[in-house]
Symmetry: C2
Subunit: 408 residues, 2 copies
């Protein structure tokens, strides 16, 4: 039994491993559980991993809370590209900068890593319907994975979710509830309804197994860098689940004797909605109701903030924030430098890296990874808002020739 | 020298291999060249291929018109998933149905296969600027690859190209000319301007090397099916370049002794714009000016129609058309069955497959592959047009509970 127990991160109470065990009975939604492994029972070597022909996150199956017989959904998830960018190195002077493009996942966001595990655990639990609340990406991800596995979905999204993300839900056939309120309220309602109707709960800050899916991004970074851990990882923070996942991945590698280093995890929030930054700096959490162009991280009450803050502290990392103008600049800077088009929340991590780089806050010899969590095609409206769509030009040769002269 | 010559498909005239050799001097744009290989000089085995650790189209580098020293652009392209769909098998009775999801490429379309080769050949030619006309996907693809490789781009798109595709161009920093006319006119102008300014030409129906990039989708299908060729391949047809590429890939495999079978290639057009279907059935090509929701294949004068028609005939295939209503149905049918969200032109191939399946035109034992050429996120407006976005629901528990009861 590789999972020894599920342990409340708040009070330390331990629970038996079960696919439908969520938060701590005593602490409620503040008592998010950690999946605790008996690392001695997991025999895995770098050689074995490198020989795997499974180019998806399931290549790390031995390090995931999945049983041998657990069914897994069919979509190919994970093993997204890690690009070393010479152009960004030249621009910043930092010699080793890597972009992890998680927008290349099946439904175009990192959330697919969590959905893959969520569906596997729902199948293990024998569930027929799975439910979640989301600012958009987790929802569309769940909808896609559920469709591929033949499970029904009920999904709660806030009014503010972009049309593209809602369209993705509907396209996959998810039963979609648009809550006329914030994400925070949609989350609460999804938990209530899940209990009432007996659905399987895929909320990442509620179901302890989902962070275990997200941790695979850390495994991949480590393997793709030649089984080496970077010095820093930049990641945008909304609910804090991805940050928690990154920490857990590198933590597992250390516990398994596969690595001896934890990278500094640098969380990046939007200045318009930065409750984790504030809590980390003041020691006191205050709910916010701010807004930002980066809708995926417009989370005023980050549900997994305690785990995320633990990750930032224990990795000797920090949390910073960037303005919407810095995010907008990153929307075009990153694709023009690295050929990677990220959604606003995705490139927020890059904006944070640029800020640190401009402030000479990064040693030029550090190996730095920036995780782009979602594809830019998910939020075309924001992309368009930072571009000037050119005026159509009359289709005669001379006019076109003169026009081309002015633009090249 | 694995490329023995470039040969006009119209008059047969042979040209020396050079990265900037385009169409036949005598036949002009009707004389699209074929890349002719000396297959005896290419030593490649299934074992060698299967041992490659390069999970991109460059694993087939030996079978591509690329020199050892040719620089290749950094984006990870190709090796997209091939899913065997049990749900579609159950729905149709056809036992072996595979979905090739080429929307998983770096800029989310199959065109990335051509852009990868286009950029490599432009680098070989020492070009500083690369130019193309496109209904959208080839353009955004070129823009992304050029940005990653540090080459400038000038791109011609028709007025009708969806905003998302234009936004992608601008995001990647391409110099974009929106031609106030059709794709056909944008194509002509791009050829003129390319000559006048000395740009490298990436038009797929003009530069003979680009079809060589597209052929890799056939190599992958063959390898992913366990080095077996399917019985049929469904593909949507716009300009006809992808159809030509699929044929060339399977042709190469036969010539290299790696396969002994050509699949039947079934081209699918939109009924609103079906010049290839008409030409194939009547023997006479007539330009069209029709329209369809599938903007990527709204091509009234398919530039590579001769090569595409040769591919359909020589593979014992055919060309059919589907209505916009059938395309709209496929937009939701495919993701709900297979978890793959394709753009309208992408799912047109699936609509064609469904039509043939409904007409009992496919033997239930045939192995059928349907290629989805572009990601649904590229054209959210069309996706939204086939969905009813639900009305927001008041955020109180009782209202939500009652609402959920009505939708599950």
């Amino acid at each position: 039994m590789k999972v020894s127990c599920l342990k409340c991160m708040n009070c330390g109470k331990e629970y038996k491993d079960a696919p439908d065990r969520y938060v701590c009975d005593d602490c409620g939604i503040d008592g998010i559980l950690d999946v605790i492994y008996d690392y001695n029972s997991i025999n895995i070597t770098k050689d074995e991993i490198s020989q795997s022909k499974d180019f998806s996150l399931w290549r790390y199956r031995k390090m995931l809370p999945i049983k041998d017989e657990t069914q897994i959904p069919p979509l190919q998830v994970g093993w997204t590209p890690l690009y070393k960018s010479e152009k960004i190195a030249n621009e910043t002077g930092i010699k080793n900068v890597y972009i992890k493009d998680d927008g290349r996942n099946p439904t175009a966001s990192l959330k697919d890593r969590a959905s893959a595990i969520g569906i596997a655990k729902a199948l293990e639990a024998g569930a027929k319907t799975i439910c979640a609340a989301s600012t958009g990406n987790a929802a569309s991800s769940l909808a896609g994975f559920a469709a591929s596995a033949g499970i029904k979905t009920v999904i709660f999204v806030p009014k503010r979710a972009p049309k593209a993300k809602i369209a993705q839900l509907l396209i996959y056939g998810a039963k979609t509830v648009i809550v006329d309120d914030t994400y925070d309220r949609a989350f609460e309602l999804s938990v209530e309804i899940t209990k009432k109707f007996g659905f399987y709960n895929r909320n990442c800050a509620y179901n302890p197994f989902l962070v275990e899916g997200k941790k695979t991004v850390a495994f991949e970074i480590w393997e793709q860098m030649g089984f080496k851990t970077p010095d820093r990882v930049y990641i945008s923070i909304g609910d804090g689940c991805i940050t928690s996942g990154i920490y857990k991945g590198f933590y597992d590698l250390i516990k398994l004797g596969l690595s001896d280093k934890m990278p500094r995890i640098i969380g990046v929030q939007a200045a318009g909605c930065n409750p984790v930054e504030v809590a980390l700096k003041t020691g006191k959490f205050v709910a916010q109701s701010g807004n930002t162009i980066a809708d995926s991280i417009a989370v005023g009450i980050p549900r997994n903030r305690l785990k995320a803050m633990r990750a930032l502290k224990e990795s000797n990392g920090t949390c910073i924030s960037v303005s919407d103008d810095e995010i907008k600049a990153a929307i075009t800077d990153l694709p023009r430098s690295a050929g990677v088009f990220g959604e606003p929340a995705g490139v927020t991590a890059y904006a944070g890296f640029k800020k640190h780089s401009n402030e000479k806050n990064i040693d030029i010899n550090e190996k730095v990874v920036i995780i782009i969590t979602g594809n830019g095609l998910k939020d075309i409206e924001s992309a368009i808002s930072v571009c000037d769509i050119p005026t159509p030009v009359a289709p005669d040769s001379k006019t076109i020739e003169n026009h081309v002269k002015t633009i090249i």
